[in-house]
């Protein structure tokens, strides 16, 4: 039976730079996928593009591609599918084209997937009566329309398949659903139909499992002491056959582990109802799958079921929402928690004295259970505590003033204050996340092949 081997060498922008190279070297892959876009990455890329129109994509990808070129020469059939295009897939693809040309790989076709960026159409959509209401609280988009910096639809696997059909060796997209980066190659290679929901669900399970890179091969595993050599953790490979059986594995002689537990934890990662995992391609049911350790570091997954894809696309909108800063100090010695709490209160009291009251503030004692506070927590007797104070305000000046209040505690706070060496905390602008839905008919995915000179032709 025909199978396809798809490896994911990057789980987010900032993931290990060597992982894609090692995976492509060792993985005997048909496809290498690279995932770069977290929910709010697009807002940062949108602002970059506003300042410099030739930017706005995940630049790490170009470094990776350059290092992959010798491998691509040895593995002429290896294809790459990535969402590195961010807010500017064409600019990313033009650079990729040049890198390939320079390496003597001018015959490898590069395609882009466009159409996810709906920010130019927001006003006409609102005029047509779409409220683009916030998915969680129903507030209409009009309330923040003037602060929107990016609006991107999560496209599905169909345009990726179209690009592959047109002969692309490298497919560069903007926003697509993470699992679709895997489902696209599976559909293309295995000849699945767009209404074979169980098969689309199987490919989606595979994509969901490998999209976060090492999280399925030993990273984050609760029994981490049993995961050997995480420094050399192998990145994940999904081997998918035409009948929809998925085998999750990793290259031989790499660190980490793939077993029932690592796969089980990742299958439910960032999932709501496990019986209805929504993507633009299918509604996948994760509660019907069976997991079986079929060989060391191989977990076989069967039985995924799917229902017809949603009538709407999910849209991820980012908007400006004030300024935020957080700073830290270390409190050592007896009563470290009490001292840290007092320092936190001093910071806020001095801001009040100066007539500066942040709209939101938060004091944390790290080392005393601040990360996951529960009713069963016992009081901390830690020999030192990290005090962390964070504020958020619509006025930059308020947040700037806050950053000045850490240093004075070095001399005016309780004894045992240290760890100020990193200096005044930075102020960053906040881009908040506005998830919403849009009817499919309002969106037109577009595939373009990038010709040898970097130009684009509508495909």
């Amino acid at each position: 039976m025909k199978t396809v081997r798809i490896g994911n060498g990057c789980g987010f922008w900032g993931d290990n730079l060597d992982a894609p190279i090692l995976l492509a070297e060792q993985g005997q892959l048909d496809y290498l996928t690279l995932e770069y876009l977290a929910e709010l990455t697009m807002s940062i890329l949108a602002l970059q593009k506003q300042r410099r129109p030739e930017t706005g994509y995940a630049t790490d990808f170009l470094d990776v591609l350059e290092r992959l070129c010798p491998l691509l020469q040895r593995q002429p059939r290896l294809k790459i599918v990535t969402n590195a295009g961010g807010m500017n897939p064409r600019a990313c693809a033009r650079q990729a084209r040049q890198i390939l040309n320079k390496a003597g790989l001018g015959e490898r076709a590069v395609a882009v997937v466009l159409g996810d960026d709906v920010s130019p159409h927001l006003d006409s959509l609102l005029e047509q009566g779409y409220r683009l209401a916030h998915l969680d609280n129903g507030v209409p988009l009009a309330s923040i329309r003037d602060r929107v910096v990016s609006a991107n639809v999560y496209l599905g696997a169909q345009p990726i398949v179209e690009a592959l059909r047109q002969g692309a060796s490298v497919v560069i997209t903007g926003r697509v659903a993470d699992a679709s980066l895997t489902l696209g190659p599976a559909v293309h290679e295995l000849g699945w139909g767009w209404e074979e929901w169980n098969l689309l669900a199987a490919g989606t399970v595979a994509g969901h499992l490998i999209e976060c890179g090492a999280q399925v091969t030993g990273g984050l595993w609760c029994n981490w002491q049993e995961a050997p050599d995480l420094a050399n953790v192998g990145y994940p490979i999904a081997e998918i056959d035409a009948a929809g059986t998925v085998r999750i594995t990793k290259p031989p002689h790499t660190g980490g582990v793939v077993n029932h537990e690592t796969v089980g934890e990742q299958l439910l990662y960032e999932v709501g109802d496990p019986a209805a995992y929504l993507t633009p391609d299918v509604i996948a049911n994760f509660t019907t799958v069976g997991l079986r350790e079929s060989a060391p570091n191989v977990v076989e997954i069967t039985g995924a079921q799917g229902d017809p894809a949603p009538e709407t696309y999910k849209v991820s909108i980012a908007y400006r929402n004030g300024f935020l800063s957080s700073g830290q100090l270390v409190l050592a010695g007896p009563q470290a928690v009490a001292k840290a709490q007092q320092c936190g209160e001093m910071i806020l009291a001095r801001l009040r004295r100066a007539g500066v009251v942040p709209e939101r503030s938060h004091v944390e004692c790290l080392g005393a259970g601040a990360c996951g506070p529960t009713v069963e927590q016992t009081p901390s007797v830690a020999p030192e505590i990290v005090l962390r104070v964070a504020v958020h305000d619509s006025r930059r000046a308020v947040v700037e003033r806050f950053t000045r209040e850490f240093a004075p505690l070095v001399t005016s706070g309780p004894p045992g204050v240290t760890g100020y060496a990193t200096g005044r905390p930075a102020v960053r602008e906040v881009f908040a996340y506005w998830p919403t839905l849009i009817p499919r008919r309002a969106v037109t995915p577009v595939v373009q092949m990038i010709d040898e000179n970097g130009g684009g032709n509508d495909g």
């Binding site: 709501g272 938060h362 990360c371 506070p373 529960t374 908040a432």
Partner: protein, 123 residues
């Protein structure tokens, strides 16, 4: 297991957590069928909501995945605005699964059929 250390959820289950906007999900996976039966009966949405009441969840939803011997909890509105707006260190609820796995199991009677099989992997 020492006699002084209470049994905890982590003795019979493992898990993982993450964010969904301003909500967090916590997946808890039992090591055995007996453990899953116990979880289904005792680890209710109300228990989890109370356990995390310092985070003020507006509601807690519980989903079952018997094929994974797992319960998936969705804690609504617990992330202080979500990834970019949260003022907390754990902006994405990544540590909440470990916090839940620390829950002491007071009502536990016969735990042996629920614990992870020893020597499951080499040690």
């Amino acid at each position: 297991m020492s006699t002084t250390e209470p049994l905890r959820l982590r003795d019979i289950a493992h898990g993982r957590s993450g964010d969904k906007g301003n909500h967090a999900n916590i997946a808890i996976l039992a090591y055995t069928e007996a453990g899953y039966a116990w979880l289904r009966k005792h680890l209710t949405a109300e228990i989890v909501k109370n356990y995390f009441r310092l985070l003020n969840p507006s509601a807690v939803l519980r989903y079952e995945a018997a094929n994974l011997k797992a319960l998936n909890f969705v804690l609504l509105d617990v992330l202080g605005g979500g990834a970019s707006l949260s003022l907390r260190t754990d902006t994405q609820g990544k540590t909440l699964a470990l916090a839940l796995l620390q829950m002491p199991l007071q009502q536990m009677i016969a735990v042996e059929p629920m614990v992870r099989a020893p020597g499951r992997t080499e040690r």
